[in-house]
Amino acid sequence: MNSQKVALADCNSFFCSCERVFQPQLMNRPVVVLSNNDGCVVSRTDEAKALGIQMGAPYFQIKDFCKRNNVAVFSSNYSLYGDLSRRIMKILAEWVPEMEVYSIDEAFLSFTGIKEEMLTDHAQKIRETLLQYTGIPVSIGIGPTKVLAKVANVVAKKNKLSTNCVYNLFENKNEDNILRKFPVEDIWGVGRKTAQKLSFHRIFTAYDLKYSNDKRIERTFTRPIRNIVKELRGQLCMELDLSAHDKKQIISSRSFGKPVFKMEDLQEAVAHHVSTAAEKLRKQKSIARAILVFIQTNAFKNTPQYHNSATITLLSGSSATNKLIKSAFCCLQEIYKTGYEYKKVGVIFMDLQKKSETQLDLFQMHDSAKDEVLMQVLDHVNATEGKSTLKFAACGIDPFWKMLSKMKSPNYSTRWGEIPKVNQ
């Protein structure tokens, strides 16, 4: 017996939609949002898609095209998107007994228990509420499994007008017609490489995969793919993951805007990454007991290549930025070599533990009371006055490698100084 019902709510062009909430004049204009460092397109509205702008298109290639076609271009503003995402998830949680936040703009919702004839209606109400409360349009797909809910969601998104952004597979008597037109690489969980491999076996659509030979699939493919086949057949294999777990590791890294050679410059970047990661660490009330630092050159460039990493273990763990920076510098010291053109550096905090659960041995060192207070002040100032208002000098005053984000919108909903000004 299978009475499970799963819905996938996915925001339409999420980053672009966030920008539109506070700039209503953009409502029918094409909008794109660029990745970190203004590298390439990561979000685009339907109008931008219609102009032929591809996902992932490098900005320098389409810059003139955007200007000519009146496309509004934004650097990514993760504070803004994060705040709207938090609101959306909070509202969704009021509508369903169980949900799994899958990404910044997607959540699986449990619709089990809702009468079949009410499903579409329920989804429409959720959609309307989200649009009214936050200004963000979402599409909702409903099916008996996660994979099918995702398929339904894609159908809803592709046919916004005819479906009014909700597509319910339970209402479709001929689900296979949809699957026949659904390319295998668009199935949730099928990567590009798997899709290639599937095509060798003459499996091109979701329909082909659904009715593929069990034995052959079992022989040639991994378990996740076998689960996808089952889910396409309506057997629920992937339960909703309801736990909101703390991160097991925290990573902060970024490519440089231009090549970096000097130790001091790398140190500044490392100090910056440690500061960012440590802030997250303290937010989840954890300490890190190991730090990994990695450096690498640009693999796409015809220059001498070098990449390496080092790890340091902190006996009793810490969440104090100053202490962590010192430890990270030790790692960097160990792996740094002169004469290379570095492209990327990053830090990973590992072996995280809840602060409240840490046990101290007699001679282990806690973060000192002084450090604790210092971190509290640091976090407080940066939370109220804006990121990086207060930072360690090791991070540098005006980092040359700083992220390019020339076209970032204000933090309309998270900073007092940047809230919208409205004419009366």
């Binding site: 409502m27 959306i88 409360y133 806690h366 909903s413 919208p420 009366q424």
Partner: protein, 149 residues
């Protein structure tokens, strides 16, 4: 955080010497002495302005007013407005509207099929929203916070 300094062995004997650097965390719950406070049983949490001013935090945003057109409604240049998007706008509410892609703060009036955006200052005329204008309501203004000093 409390810590007790221990002494490090020197010449294999324990000597008393201040400012040693081995710290041992000292975790003990506070020992209560004397009479308990008579107020303890009636402790309540402090008043929270958020709770008073905001009913739907997920749908609430802040904006700053610019201009003079709503002085009659007690909204002055620079005032902070709390906008609740979860409310359905009723005729008579002060709303943040979007008229032809621009934000505007006005009193929303609906008389039969006619929609009016009314300023509250004689110097400004009411705006009649005609059918082919693009018009929507972003949210309902529920409070205005005006600084007195």
């Amino acid at each position: 955080m409390t810590a007790v300094s221990l002494q490090k062995p020197e010449n294999k004997k324990y000597k008393s010497k201040p400012f040693q650097n081995v710290q041992v965390p000292f975790y003990l719950t506070a020992v209560s002495c004397g009479f308990p406070s008579p107020a303890e049983d009636s402790l309540e949490s402090p008043l929270d302005l958020n709770e008073h001013l905001i009913s739907k935090p997920a749908a609430t945003f802040f904006v700053r007013a610019k201009g003079e057109s709503m002085i009659g409604a007690g909204i002055f240049d620079g005032d902070l407005l709390i906008i609740d998007r979860s409310r359905t706008p009723q005729s008579g509410n002060v709303v943040l509207a979007i008229l032809d892609g621009e934000f505007t703060l006005k009193r929303f009036k609906k008389i039969k099929e006619t929609v009016l955006l009314c300023p509250e200052n004689e110097k400004f005329p009411p705006i009649k929203v005609n059918g082919n204008a693009s018009f929507s309501i972003w949210g309902v203004a529920i409070h205005c916070i005006h600084k007195l000093t």
